[in-house]
Each structure stands twice: as structure tokens, then as C-alpha cells.
């Protein structure tokens, strides 16, 4: 039981060793980093086995007292329950595979050692985040992953655009962080405890009845604000497409599998607070659905390979938020786990393709790569099947089904959300297969053959993670397969210990059939439509310059103008203020000086040597004095 601290300790040690140690030659840094990640994964598996064997009893390990403030002391306390187990398994296993991939992928880059140091540090912080037993420690992990995200997005810092993207990510998520901090302070102030479990219990007794407590709504809304920022949902989503400036493993780890899902984790972890504020939950669901559709449309119009995947991530996290809003806690977490698998696979494969083509990211300049890079193609396809929830036993199928079923059964207004989710399914299929057709199928649009457009150079460090992830994608769904197809809710049962789960109503075969088939049909429908789009290039300006479709596509490509609006509302005024050198701290003393000068000037002008003026002033004074006496 006491081993839990090893899980974050290994990557932390790795980060320190890589950061401060002697320079290493060749791929040693990569191997060391991956080893640290691998040990963390091993430790996580061990802890998980022990947990299950011990009857799934949640426990907390308090390592030491962090802040000794008497009654308000905070400890470094890791709290282990089913949810935490799931998260650490996802983070460490996927993290390990990505580290492995990076050994070769990042070989030859300047800052190779720095890369692995940052990656290890990130994994350590992420583990702290998901294991934290109190909000303060969670916030430490929260900020830490934000820091590492910044460092890794701007990894190739010599290009200033990357630095700008990193800054943008940091600043936008900062807005969310402030909200989270305020929420934490609110909870601490009114409930008196920052321990997550304790605060949740206290909230249930102090802030009941549900639906009428404004404190609960405020706390939930603030926590939601934090989650929106980290998970890149509307309206704090603008940083994610820009974050693709970082290396592909970064995108895979941070912006697909883990950090962006921290928001989902946070809401799930704080479900007690959200349960007390149903209006906020509605907002969660609506925002999730809105992001789902918005990001799907944007993804459909992108040219940049990684940006398609970035918007896809945004959209899938919208799914998770939708599930959270419908109180389908386990469904959301399950989707989180499966999404980590297939999205990281997609990013890694995409990264390999991009590298092989000499850093080409424009999908319009690719094509016919299926034959040239078969391994990449098939693994990518596996990930795509997971994303679009197509059979056979893919992970995405299972998790999406769970969410959709839950939405339908909630009924009422949630039916609207079900329709939105269905639309999302179609969109997902459309953009995914458009991507596949443009990149791997069709004629080759590449001018000359670029540097090493041949796959043969992929070594084991690249291929093993890809294959491993692909296999996991394909069979991961077995964990919680829809009951129609003979599955058992292993996953749901596992999580029931940590998250409230409402049981599904009685098995109605016909309904179940409908609920499972409908999204399937939509996804399949997307394939030929996507083929049409990819082949005809209907959304391309250079093919149909006057068309309405390209115009709409152009708007969607820009993310429907959110960047412009934010730039106008926030960025430009701040820059103008900063640029003008209006030093408003100095304003106090300068202002005082100016005011004094002006006042003295005014007084001086009253001594102008004009007797009639003086007389008038005298008379006026007499008037006023008399008035003062009389009144």
C-alpha cells in the first residue's frame, strides 16, 4: 500500500537526473526517461493489483505535512481509489509507450535530453494531480502540468511562433486556473477543509438541498471554469490548435491523453459539488455538446494534419463533458481512458508520417501513403476505428455507446443532447475518414519524393508503441462492452466504488439495439461522404473559388473567429496598455506632482494684480460667509 508514492517518484527522479545530471550521449537520455516512465507504469500496475486484491478499499497515504498551519495544515497525501487507479494506469502506460516512441522520433534533435526531462516532469506532475487527496496538492499538480505544457509546446524555442503558442496556451489556461483557485478558496472558506473527500461530505450536509444553494453553484461553476481551461472547451479553447507547434509526442501525451483530460478528471473527482448544483451540470452538458459540434466542424475544414487531430481531441473531450453533465460519470471516465489510447496512437502515427515526409503537415500535399507506409497506415486505421466507434471490438465503440445510452435514458431535455451527440458521431466519422483518404489514399500529391518518404527507416522504438497501442485500441472495448453484444460492465463496476453510478434500466432489447445501431450506421455513413469530400475537394478554395462551401470552410478553419474576437477584446487592449509605457504604478507619484503643479498654477492665476478681481472675490467671500452663518 505504501508503494503508491513510487508511482510519481520514478518520473520525478528521472526528470531531476536528466535535468541536472551530466550530459548523456546518443539515445541514453531517451532510454533513461523511458525507463523512469516504465518503472512508474510497473509500479502503477502493482498498486492496481494490490488494490483489487485487497477488495478495492480506498485508502490515503499521507507522506508528510506540507504546510503546518495547525487546523488548516495540508499534507502531501495521495488518495487511492478506483478512479485514481484508472487514471494512473492510463497516464503511466500511455506515457511509457509515448516515451518509448520518442526515443527514436526525437533523435537528433537539439535538446534531446531536455525533452525527456520535461516529459518525465510532466508525468510526475500529472500523477500528483490525479493522486492528490486534497485540493491544494491537486492544484500543485495542475499548475505543474501547465508549466510542462508550456515548456514542451515551446520546445523548439528558436522559432518565435512556438514561444507565442506556448504563451497563448499558458495564458488561456491561466484564466481557468484562477477560477479553480477561487473555487478552492471558496470551498476552504465555507467548508473549512481542502481535503477532497472531507469537503465533499461536508458539502453534502452543509450545502443541501440540492438546487438551491448558491454557494454550491458558485463553487461548482468556478471548478468548471478551471476544467474548461485545461481541457480546451468553449470558451477557453483557443490555445489547443496552436499547441500543435510542439513535437508530436507532446501532442500525443499532453494534448490528447492526459493534461487535457485533467479537466474531466477534476469534474469527476468533484462530482459531489456538481451534484449539488444541477444548473451547473446542465451548463457542463451544454458546453460539452457545443464544443463537440463546434470542434467537429472545425476539424472538417483543416489542412494541417495535427490540427485536425487537435480539434478532434477538443470534440471528444466535449463528449466527455457531455457525459459528465448527464451524470454519466463512469461513462465519461471510460471514454477518457479509451480516448487516451486511440488519440495518442493517432498522434504518434501522424508524427511519424510527418517526419517521414520531411516535416510536411499539409494534408493536401499528401496522398497514397498506404502503400508506402503500411505499418503506419494500419495502426492509424486502428486508431481511427477507435475514434469513430466502429466494430469490431474497438474501445471507442464501447465508451461512446455507454455515453449515448446514458443520454437517451436520462430523457427530457437530454434527448436534445442525444441528437447533438448523434450529429457529433457523424461529424467524427466525416473528418476522420476525410483525413485518412487525403493522407493515405488517393493519388499522391507530393511534387518530388521528399526526404525519406519510405517507411523502412522505422525502428523498434517507433513500431512497438504503435502496435501496442493499436492492439489496445482494438480490444480495450472488452472492458465495458454494451450488454447487447454480450458484454459485461467490468469497468463500470470497478469505478462504482469511486463514482456514483445510476443503474441502467431494465434491458429492453429493441431499444438497446436501436441505441447501439444508430451511431454505428451514422459512422458508416460518414465513410462514403468523406470519400466524396476528399476526392472532390469540395471545401477547397482553389477548386471552387466562388463556392459557398469553401467560404464556410474558410470560416471553420479559422475556428469560427474566436481568436479574432479574443484578440480584439483582450489581447490588443492589454498590448496597447503595455506598449504605451503607461506605468500606472508610477502614476501615483507622477500624478501627485502633476496635480500639485496644476493646483499651484491655478492659485497663481488668482494673484494677477487686478483690483476688480480682488474686489469681486471679497464680495463673493462675504456672500458665502453670510450664507454660512444664516443657514
Amino acid at each position: 500500500m505504501e508503494l503508491i508514492w513510487l508511482v510519481p517518484a520514478f518520473p520525478l527522479a528521472g526528470a531531476i537526473a536528466l535535468g541536472l545530471g551530466r550530459p548523456l550521449t546518443g539515445k541514453s537520455a531517451g532510454i533513461l526517461g523511458s525507463a523512469a516512465a516504465g518503472l512508474a507504469a510497473a509500479a502503477a500496475c502493482l498498486v492496481a493489483c494490490l488494490f483489487v486484491a485487497g477488495g478495492q478499499v480506498p485508502y490515503t497515504v499521507s507522506l508528510w505535512t506540507w504546510l503546518d498551519l495547525g487546523a488548516a495544515s495540508q499534507a502531501i497525501a495521495f488518495s487511492v481509489d478506483a478512479l485514481a487507479i484508472v487514471m494512473i494506469l492510463v497516464v503511466t502506460i500511455v506515457g511509457f509507450l509515448i516515451h518509448l516512441f520518442s526515443i527514436e522520433h526525437m533523435a537528433g534533435e537539439e535538446g534531446y535530453r531536455r525533452f525527456f526531462a520535461y516529459m518525465n516532469l510532466f508525468v510526475a506532475f500529472m500523477l500528483v494531480l490525479v493522486l492528490a487527496g486534497n485540493f491544494l496538492l491537486l492544484y500543485l499538480g495542475w499548475e505543474g502540468v501547465g508549466l510542462c505544457s508550456f515548456l514542451l509546446i515551446g520546445f523548439w524555442f528558436r522559432d518565435r511562433a512556438n514561444g507565442a503558442a506556448a504563451r497563448k496556451a499558458f495564458l488561456v489556461t491561466r484564466v481557468g486556473d484562477v477560477a479553480l483557485l477561487l473555487g478552492m478558496l471558496l470551498i476552504a472558506a465555507s467548508l473549512g477543509s481542502l481535503d477532497i473527500g472531507e469537503a465533499s461530505r461536508k458539502a453534502q450536509s452543509a450545502w443541501a438541498p440540492a438546487g438551491s444553494s448558491s454557494l454550491a453553484m458558485l463553487a461548482a461553476a468556478l471548478i468548471l471554469g478551471g476544467a474548461l481551461g485545461k481541457s480546451a472547451q468553449l470558451p477557453l479553447h483557443t490555445w489547443l490548435p496552436d499547441a500543435m507547434a510542439g513535437p508530436s509526442p507532446v501532442s500525443a501525451l499532453i494534448h490528447a491523453a492526459t493534461m487535457v483530460t485533467a479537466g474531466v478528471y477534476l469534474v469527476a473527482r468533484a462530482n459531489a459539488f456538481f451534484a449539488l448544483a444541477p444548473q451547473v451540470l446542465e451548463v457542463v452538458a451544454v458546453l460539452g455538446a457545443a464544443t463537440l459540434l463546434y470542434a467537429g466542424l472545425c476539424a472538417l475544414a483543416q489542412r494541417d494534419f495535427k490540427k485536425i487531430l487537435a480539434y478532434s481531441t477538443m470534440s471528444q473531450i466535449g463528449y466527455m463533458f457531455l457525459a459528465l453533465g448527464a451524470s454519466a460519470w463512469t461513462g465519461a471516465v471510460f471514454h477518457l481512458a479509451t480516448h487516451a489510447l486511440f488519440k495518442s496512437l493517432l498522434f504518434l502515427a501522424a508524427g511519424a508520417v510527418i517526419n517521414a515526409l520531411g516535416h510536411e503537415r499539409d494534408v493536401y500535399a499528401m496522398g497514397a501513403l498506404a502503400k508506402k507506409m503500411p505499418l503506419l497506415f494500419w495502426t492509424f486505421l486502428a486508431g481511427a476505428f477507435g475514434l469513430t466507434a466502429l466494430p469490431p471490438v474497438t474501445a471507442g465503440l464501447a465508451s461512446k455507446d455507454a455515453i449515448l445510452a446514458r443520454l437517451w435514458y436520462v430523457g427530457g431535455d437530454a434527448r436534445l443532447l442525444w441528437w447533438a451527440a448523434m450529429a457529433g458521431v457523424l461529424l467524427t466519422s466525416l473528418y476522420t475518414f476525410r483525413m485518412i483518404f487525403l493522407v493515405f489514399a488517393g493519388p499522391s500529391r507530393r511534387g518530388g519524393v521528399g526526404a525519406s518518404s519510405h517507411e523502412g527507416e522505422l525502428g523498434p522504438s517507433t513500431t512497438i508503441p504503435l502496435i501496442a497501442l493499436a492492439l489496445l485500441c482494438l480490444v480495450g472495448g472488452l472492458l465495458d462492452f454494451p450488454r447487447l453484444m454480450g458484454g459485461r460492465p467490468y469497468f463500470g463496476a470497478f469505478l462504482a466504488g469511486a463514482l456514483p453510478t445510476a443503474p441502467l434500466p431494465e434491458a429492453d432489447t429493441a431499444l438497446d439495439l436501436f441505441l447501439s445501431l444508430a451511431p454505428l450506421i451514422l459512422s458508416l455513413l460518414g465513410i462514403p461522404l468523406a470519400w466524396l469530400i476528399a476526392r472532390r475537394g469540395l471545401e477547397r478554395r482553389d477548386i471552387a473559388p466562388k463556392g459557398a462551401l469553401p467560404a464556410m470552410a474558410a470560416i471553420a478553419r479559422e475556428g469560427f473567429g474566436f481568436d479574432r474576437v479574443y484578440a480584439f477584446l483582450f489581447v490588443r487592449p492589454v498590448l496597447r496598455l503595455a506598449g504605451k509605457g503607461v506605468d500606472f504604478v508610477n502614476l501615483a507619484s507622477e500624478g501627485l506632482r502633476g496635480a500639485t503643479m496644476r493646483l499651484s498654477g491655478l492659485l497663481r492665476s488668482s494673484q494677477d494684480g487686478r483690483p476688480r478681481r480682488y474686489l469681486g472675490a471679497l464680495a463673493l467671500g462675504a456672500l458665502l460667509l453670510l450664507a454660512a452663518v444664516l443657514i
Partner: protein, 174 residues
Amino acid sequence: MNPVLAVSAAVAVASTVAVVIQRKAVHALLYLIVSFFALAVAMLALGAAFAAALEVVVYAGAILVLFVFVLMMIGVEGPVPSLRAWLFPALLAILLFAELAYALFARPELLEALSVAAPASGAAQVAYAVPAPVPPKAVGLALFGPYAVAAEIAAFLLLSGLVGAYHLGRRDKA
């Protein structure tokens, strides 16, 4: 209401206003003399015969005549201020008058509070309705009685005025 008082008051006000709006200084002076005459009559109506006489003899008859002499020597003619220039003074005047009127008539207790005990010279506290006109004899007795020192100082003042005027009038040699 004493009709004499009322009429002389009206005359005084009218001619004073005329003083202020004249173009030629001599005309203004003449109007002022009229105003002083009217005031002397008012003083008579109030029973202050001696003061009335002094007003005519000294103020109108000596001081203002001195003014007349000087103005005839230098012939001053000033531009009458425009209506716009009258705005602020008129406003001020009206406001001040309003305040004074208010203080005098609407707040009798203020005046009672400001009044000190009976005046220094002999006359006893008389009932309000009945005070008689004050004869010059009483004034003389007061002037060289309780106010004797003040009279001497007034003499000093006159002397200093004399000296000052003399010096100012000299053609500069020093």
C-alpha cells in the same frame, strides 16, 4: 409708515442707481449729491437731525464738492460697461441683498443675539415704540464724553490724510 421716509428712500435708490450707470463722471457725481440729500432727509425722518445736517454740510457739501473740483480738472469719461459686464456684479448684488434682507427680516433672533447691552452713553433702555429724536446736544455730550479719545484719533486720521494728499500732489522732486 412714514411717508417722508418712504419717498426719500425711493429717491435715494433711484439716484444711486443712476450714479452707477452714468457715462460722464460729473453727471454721476451730481446724482450722488442728490442721493445724499435724500438720505439726509431720511435721517431727519428718523430723528437724527444732527447727522442729517452733517451729511449735507460735510459729506455732500465738502467731500463731494472736492470730487467735483477734481473731476472738472481732469474730465473723466468712462466707457459704460456692457450688459454682459453687469452680469456678475448684478448677480452678486442681488444675492447679497437677498441674504441681508433675509438676515434682517426673517431672522429676528439673530439680530437680538448680536445686540449687546444698552449703548454706552446715558440713554436708558427705552421701550421700542417710543424713542424720541436725538438732539444735537446729546450727540455733542457723547462725542466729548465717552468718545473723546476716538475724536482725538479721528483728528489724527485727518492729519495723516492731509499729509498724504500733500505729498501725492507735489510735482516730483524727491
